[in-house]
Structures are given as C-alpha cells and as structure tokens.
C-alpha cells in the first residue's frame, strides 16, 4: 500500500487554508451578489411597471438590501409552539448549504477555473438537496400551508429536474466532458464565439434548460410553492427574521448560480472576442466581465418573464414538464447525436467522408448539413408536441361546455 503518493502534512494545511479562503470568498461574494440581485430585480421590474423602484437608500438605492438585511437580522426569531424545533431550525441551513455547495464548481470567467471532473452533475446533485430543505421546512413548521407549499415545491422540483438534466445531455455530448471548465474552454473557437447556443441543438437545449431552470429556482411563473394568493407563503409561512432571510438568500443565490451555469454551458462562459488575445491576466479580467454581463442578461430575462407571465396552475405546471418539455428534450438528445455524427465522424462512418469530406473545424459543408438536419428534426418535434398537446373541441368535458368555456 505504499504506491500512492503521500502528501506532506503542511501541504494539507495549505490546502485546507486555501479552501477556507475560497469558501469565505464564495459565501461573501454570494451574499453580496444576492443583495445586488435583489436590488437589480426590483429596479428592473419597477421600470417594467412604469415605476422607479427603491432609490432612496444609498446611491440609486444600492444600499436598500443592506438596510433590509439589518432589519431582518434585528427581528425577533420565532419558532411555532408545536413545531418540530430541530427540523424547523435546520431547514434553512440545509437550503443554504446546498446552494453554497453549488457555487464551489462554477468557473468565474477564465480566472478561477474549477477542477472537479464531474462538476455539472455535482451542481445538480446538490441543488437537488433543496427538496430536502423544503420538505423539512414544510413539515417542521407544523402548519398546513407550509406543508402544502413544501409538497408542491418538492413535486415541482423533482418533475423539472428530469428535463433539466436531459437538456444538459446535448452539451455533454457536444463537449465530451462533465467539467464546467472544459465545457467553457471548448466554446472558445471562432474568435470566442463558438458558443453552443448558436447551434440548433444547443438553442433547443438552452430554451428548455432555461424554462426548467425557472422552475428549479422557483421563479415566476413557476413560483407555485410560494403562491401567496393560494397558500400564504408556502413553506416560508412560519419563518421570520433571520431564518426567512436565509431562505431568501438561498433562493436568490440559487438563481444566481443557475444564471452562471447557463452562461457557462450555453453562452460560452467567459469566452468572447479578445479574451485569448489579451493574455492571461487582462484576458482573464475581460472574461470575468463577459461572464457577469451574460449572467446578468440572463437574470434580466428571468425578471422580464416575471413581469409578464402570470403564475401557472399546478396541473398546468406538471403537464408542461411531462407532456411538453420532456419529449422535446428527448428528441433533442437524438438530434445532438446526429449532429456529432455528421460533424465529427471520420473513420467511423466512411459514407459521411465520401459525401461531405474529412471532418475538420473549417469543413463548413458538414456544419451546414448538420444544422439543416438537426433543425428539421427539432422543428418537427416541436410541431408534433404542440399538435398532440393542443386541445381539440372534442376534448372538452361536459362541465366546461356547460360553463361556456368552449368558445
């Protein structure tokens, strides 16, 4: 048993110290990012509704989240009398822990790469632990609305995890890696514009992933677990003060993480024009800027959707995941396989070489054929799914006809 390298103790101490520093940075950065994000969302949605939003505390209201953080921290910490005290206390901890773990493997631009080989899966594994926190909060509160909200949230998260992970498969097939850093690096072709979103399969994957991510982050129109017009505040009903703030923090940090992941997977992460030309440090800073711009643009899209689309019903939500997203995502995996075959297979399929020439990054004939074929497949799939899901007049129930909803 002496063949494995034995790392010296002081190296371990160094590793531990570096890890602690990193974790602190992630925690502080994540909380600050979340604060900025709340301000950003409130200002953006205010302008969508012809208002101004918070602009009093600090310059342009930037310190509003700080004042709110102080407010929540100084509030009384209440636990319901008949609640399960330990579970009630641990639920926000589990939520926040799961979120912070997800931040561990996100590459921030090209400056801070992450080294885990299965980073993408890791993120979704730990994000899946949110369900546990939700159920703990819902059950530990000893409140009907909290339990309903928790159950709704869990059902939603479990349902939407399937299209989420399936939408990820095309990217893994295209890049051949599960590491986020590798995936980002492989989108650096064509002067930094080799993003996966520019291919038909990548675009389909991006759209489906984005919708599923909305549900995973409990954003409107999928905020059914916290539907305040139906079940008070869902699993947050019995939480106040600091614990509520932790839930809130975890929620926004999850959204931030999802935006970062989408920017990395589909929009090329820190890749952009001029990153490779500027060298390591300057190019790294530029990539960081690109990365944040992409992530914030994605979050703006989320806010825009929140400002537009009303909340779905529970059965609509489930139907959308299982009847609409899942078939499209499955077909997209298939068409990604075709894309990979057409663009990359040389000796495996001699017939492609005979028709379109050797596979190379400047063989535009192969890319053109691949784009046309996958586009046709995806469009056909979307059309078929829409056709199947469209309700015919004969599908209407007697009650609906009696209610006059048939028109």
């Amino acid at each position: 048993m002496t063949y494995w390298p034995v790392i010296a103790v002081d190296a371990w101490i160094g590793l531990v110290l570096v890890s602690i520093i990193k974790v602190t940075l992630i925690l502080v950065g994540g909380s600050l990012g979340m604060m900025f994000l709340t301000w950003y969302e409130r200002r953006a949605i205010a302008y969508m509704q012809d208002r101004r939003g918070p602009n009093r505390v600090g310059p342009q209201g930037l310190l509003q989240p700080v004042s709110e953080a102080i407010k929540t921290m100084t509030k009384e910490d209440i636990t319901p009398l008949d609640a399960d005290r330990v579970v009630h206390f641990l639920a926000p901890v589990v939520m926040l822990g799961a979120t912070v773990l997800a931040f561990a493997v996100i590459p921030w631009g090209n400056l801070f790469p992450s080294s885990l080989r299965v980073g993408v899966l890791f993120i979704f594994a730990v994000t899946g632990l949110h369900t546990v926190g939700m159920l703990m909060a819902g059950w530990g509160s000893n409140n009907k609305f909290a339990l309903l909200g928790g159950m709704r949230g869990v059902a939603q998260m479990v349902s939407y995890e399937i299209p989420l992970l399936m939408a990820l498969l095309p990217i893994i097939l295209l890049s051949g890696s599960l590491s986020l850093t590798d995936i980002v690096t492989r989108q650096g072709d064509w002067y930094g514009f080799g993003w996966y979103v520019f291919s038909p399969v990548g675009l389909t994957a991006f759209i489906t992933f984005f919708i599923a991510a909305l549900a995973e982050g409990e954003r409107t129109p999928f905020d059914i677990p916290e539907a305040d017009s139906e079940i008070v505040a869902g699993y947050l009903t019995e939480y106040g003060g600091m614990k509520f703030a932790v839930f809130y923090l975890s929620n926004y940090m999850t959204n931030l993480a999802l935006c970062f992941i989408m920017a990395s997977l589909f929009l090329g992460g820190g890749n952009g024009p001029g990153v490779t030309a500027l060298g390591t440090v300057l190019g790294g800073l530029l990539s960081l800027v690109y990365f944040f711009i992409k992530a914030l643009a994605l979050f703006f899209l989320m806010v825009l959707i929140r400002g537009t689309v009303p909340r779905l019903r529970v059965d609509q939500l489930m139907g959308f995941a299982w009847k609409f997203l899942l078939p499209i995502v499955l077909v997209n995996v298939f068409s990604t396989a075709i894309w990979v075959a057409i663009t990359r297979w040389g000796p495996q399929a001699q017939i492609f070489t005979d028709w379109f020439g050797e596979p190379a990054s400047d063989n535009y004939l192969r890319y053109g054929v691949a784009i046309v074929v996958t586009l046709i497949i995806n469009l056909l799939a979307v059309y078929a799914v829409m056709r199947i899901n469209r309700r015919q007049p004969s599908d209407l129930t007697e009650e609906e006809i009696a209610l006059g909803l048939a028109g």
């Binding site: 048993m1 002496t2 063949y3 494995w4 034995v6 790392i7």
Partner: protein, 105 residues
C-alpha cells in the same frame, strides 16, 4: 489518497452499516421503516463494491458498473415498495407490518 486506510476498516464499516440495516428491517413495525433498513443494507453493499474496486482493480470498471446497477435496482425497489405501502394503507388504513396479516385484499 485512500491508500493509507486498510481495506479491512472500510469493510468493517460496511459490515456495521449492514447489521444496522438488518436490525432495522427486522425490528421495525412500520413498513416504511423496514424499507429504510433495506436501503441501509444496499448502501453497505455498495460501499463494499466500491472498496474492492478501488483497492483491487482501480483500472477496471466492474465495481463501478455493479454499483451503478445496484443503485438503479434499489431505486426501482423503493418505488415499487412504497407504491405497495400506499396501496396497503389505502386498503387497511395501517402500514404496520404486523397488522397487515390477512391475504384478503
């Protein structure tokens, strides 16, 4: 980096987990509790598989593959088992194993 731990320790850990699961599966009245005990036992088996793979054949993939299969089978087992628990509850209003003792449905 796991090389400094003797394999026997890992196997003992797995054995302990297995026995705990066995006790749970044998002593619980609640059917869901029994299922949880079985889950513990399956996990200990997985630990064994991974340990043997890591210590004996790290270049091969037999241990990993078998663990993946075990996890899949365990998931299927839990799904069916819990469905049965719910069906039993619906028929008899109890999920205690010692109260569901007739064959009549």
């Amino acid at each position: 980096m796991v090389g400094t731990i003797p394999i026997a320790w890992v196997l003992t850990l797995a054995a302990g987990l297995f026995c705990i699961g066995l006790f749970g599966a044998l002593s619980r009245r609640n059917t869901v509790g029994i299922l949880m005990g079985i889950e513990l036992m399956l996990n200990s088996v997985n630990i064994n598989l991974v340990a043997f793979w890591r210590y004996l054949r790290p270049m091969g993939t037999a241990g990993l593959t078998f663990t993946v299969f075990t996890i899949a089978v365990a998931a299927a087992e839990v799904a069916v088992g819990l469905a049965m628990v719910i069906a039993i509850y619906r028929a008899r209003q109890t999920i205690n194993a010692d109260e569901a003792d007739t064959l009549k449905g």
